[in-house]
Assembly symmetry: C2
DNA sequence: AAGGCGCCTGTTATCGCTAACATGCCTGCA
DNA sequence: TGCAGGCATGTTAGCGATAACAGGCGCCTT
């Protein structure tokens, strides 16, 4: 039963051995067209005996499609990416597509490389969940022009032929900040952006809006970010940023009474910095995170955060993409904005029995 | 410059437009063979104007290789997987290979599907970092027989033609447990395995060995795991397991004075359960985790844990695989075992000024 | 001056598969 | 009996790229 590794079995080999032509074998293996039951069984038996494996390259080349979808992620180690990919897979699997994932490590250059690889290998479409960059956007634009279906998740890039799903992070950031203000905090810090760069982060813009709307000043010393030039760091290691950012905030003459962290990992880092300084959460400083990762319910105290329907975003992005792939003509851009939801836990709320 | 999306540009199109044959175009684009400079520039110009994109399917079909490697991961949302993939990518990128990642969500069935997809699409080799299963092992075996190069990371499956890199987690588990015993704890619990299943987890076996060697009894009530039948859950969400497991341990008549958690997320969950019960770490209960994720240095108290050289494992696995791919003949199995290192932090050590 | 060697380009023949069309046979119905 | 129509298979012609071989030309060598 074992084959010489240097010569993979082809349809023709099976055909010869089963006494038919390769076309018949193809029909059997793809379950299409009419084939005599006896012939079919014989072909199947021979194929299995020779441990045939179809050649996706040849198949794709001839069919002009590969039933393959690419997903490009900025980093891999975070619950957000995991949920997203799970949503995407749920849809694809059911519809008979295979998913290949590429990681860009938050680098525009690798973003572009991922797009190129997937396009070269003739993925039928690409789902992009990386942050926007000039390089990346240009490449995307040219791929879209060339007819490749693209679906974007939370990427700041509009194109009349690319679908988009996104969470309303501006509103999410706004709500989180408003919550802090409503529990009486007037010095609210933000951890996770560097002011030296143009700030595209919507949840941060929501923070600014909330302050403004409530007549609070934006204090630059209360906004701290990663030390490096590049703030495109993987989500899962941002507790470092949170810890250091919080430490910096605690050293201010007039320290904040609340902080909003760009994500839950950052918030966890902040929590620990506060505890190590011997202060209490939320009494001395209230903390809000973002994303509602599984860990958030298990920090001490449990973390108030903003939840977005991540898996659902993946699902919808995949559905948009498949619709576009399977459509005969060009489709106009589809867009779906998801609501975020503030999840209040004890990091912002003193024991409810008090109230 | 824009093309009709329905008809991708081919080498022949460029050739016609540049007044040469497609062979010459191929030579130019692959930078091989001699081509007149003027011709080369003309071809490149035309190719760029027509925004040519090479067809990896046709190319792969003819060349019988795709310069593509597959990586199969059990889950995506954990720092371990991230570091691993980073190590793999470092090597592949430098050697001109493209990486496609597949996720199995810890299901043997999806494991097999991932292997099949990658093999169908004629990846030049596969790196497997998922846990062993009968189904998966059988499929791997047949792929290896058919000549596909395979490299395994931490997977309990030996094959004379599959390379293996692995961390010595038995020793790691042993060291972690020994450490707890040496700081004077005699009731040491383990969180993260269900005794109803056969236990393949090496770090758990290390725990058992350490107990035995120090003449301590193995107390079944001190070993707790996930409630569900399936303990193959994503690493990143095991803080749930840690929290619930710890809660169970705390409710024992004679509670443990130390616990060893199967990974850092689990340990974090345990830490929080302990804190919520009003007990102190490490005075009342010492805690050790596993993996040394970035978060571990920032819990409160900072977590004692076991570090394994993850990125290095990815690098070596990739190197093994490429060596196998590029070798003319069959290579014997290569294996590399990595040492683990106990990282002692405050979750097991009362303030060092005391000693 | 003839042969040889490098350079540049072209021709041919697949890689493995399948869409589209073609063929032959059998059945049923007018 | 004749023929439409369905079934079961075969034949042909690529999909787009490149390995291998085949010139043609100019220049150097002896």
């Amino acid at each position: 039963m074992k084959r010489n590794p240097t010569k993979p079995v082809t349809l023709a080999d099976i055909a010869a051995s089963a006494g038919v032509t390769s076309m018949t074998v193809s029909r059997v293996l793809n379950q299409q067209g009419n084939v005599n039951v006896a012939t079919r069984d014989r072909v199947l038996r021979v194929a299995s005996e020779m441990s045939y494996r179809r050649n996706g390259l040849a198949r794709g080349l001839k069919r002009q499609r590969t039933d393959t979808i690419g997903l490009v992620l900025g980093d891999i180690a975070n619950p957000f990416a995991a949920e997203l990919s799970r949503g995407v897979r749920e849809v694809l699997e059911q519809r008979g597509y295979t998913l290949f994932i590429c990681i860009s490590e938050h680098s525009p250059k690798e973003d572009v490389e991922a797009f190129d690889s997937l396009a070269d290998h003739r993925a039928d479409g690409i789902i992009v969940a990386t942050r926007a960059s000039r390089l990346g956007n240009e490449k995307l634009e040219s791929l879209i022009e060339s007819g490749l279906p693209i679906s974007l998740i939370g990427r700041d890039f509009l194109h009349p032929q690319a679908d988009l799903v996104i969470a309303d992070n501006l509103k999410g950031g706004y709500e989180a900040t408003k919550h802090l203000i409503q529990i009486g905090r007037r010095r609210v810090g933000f951890i996770g952006v560097s002011l030296t760069k143009s700030i595209a982060l919507r949840r941060f813009r929501g923070y600014l809006e909330a302050l403004e709307e409530h007549g609070l000043p934006v204090a630059e010393e209360l906004i701290v970010g990663p030390r490096g030039v590049n703030d495109q760091i993987p989500g899962y290691s941002t507790e470092e940023v949170g810890y250091e950012g919080m430490t910096k905030l605690l050293s201010l003459k007039e320290r904040p009474t609340a902080v909003f962290a760009r994500n839950d990992f950052t918030a966890v880092g902040a929590l620990n910095a506060i505890k190590q300084a011997g202060l209490r959460v939320p009494e001395d400083i209230a903390v809000v995170g973002y994303d509602d990762i599984p860990l958030a319910a298990h920090t001490s105290p449990p973390l108030t955060t903003v939840r977005q329907p991540t898996r659902e975003q993946g699902r919808v992005a995949a559905e948009f993409l498949l619709r576009r792939i399977e459509a005969a003509e060009h489709l106009p851009r589809a867009e779906r904005v998801f609501r975020c939801q503030l999840v209040v836990r004890e990091s912002t709320e003193v024991n409810s029995s008090l109230s």
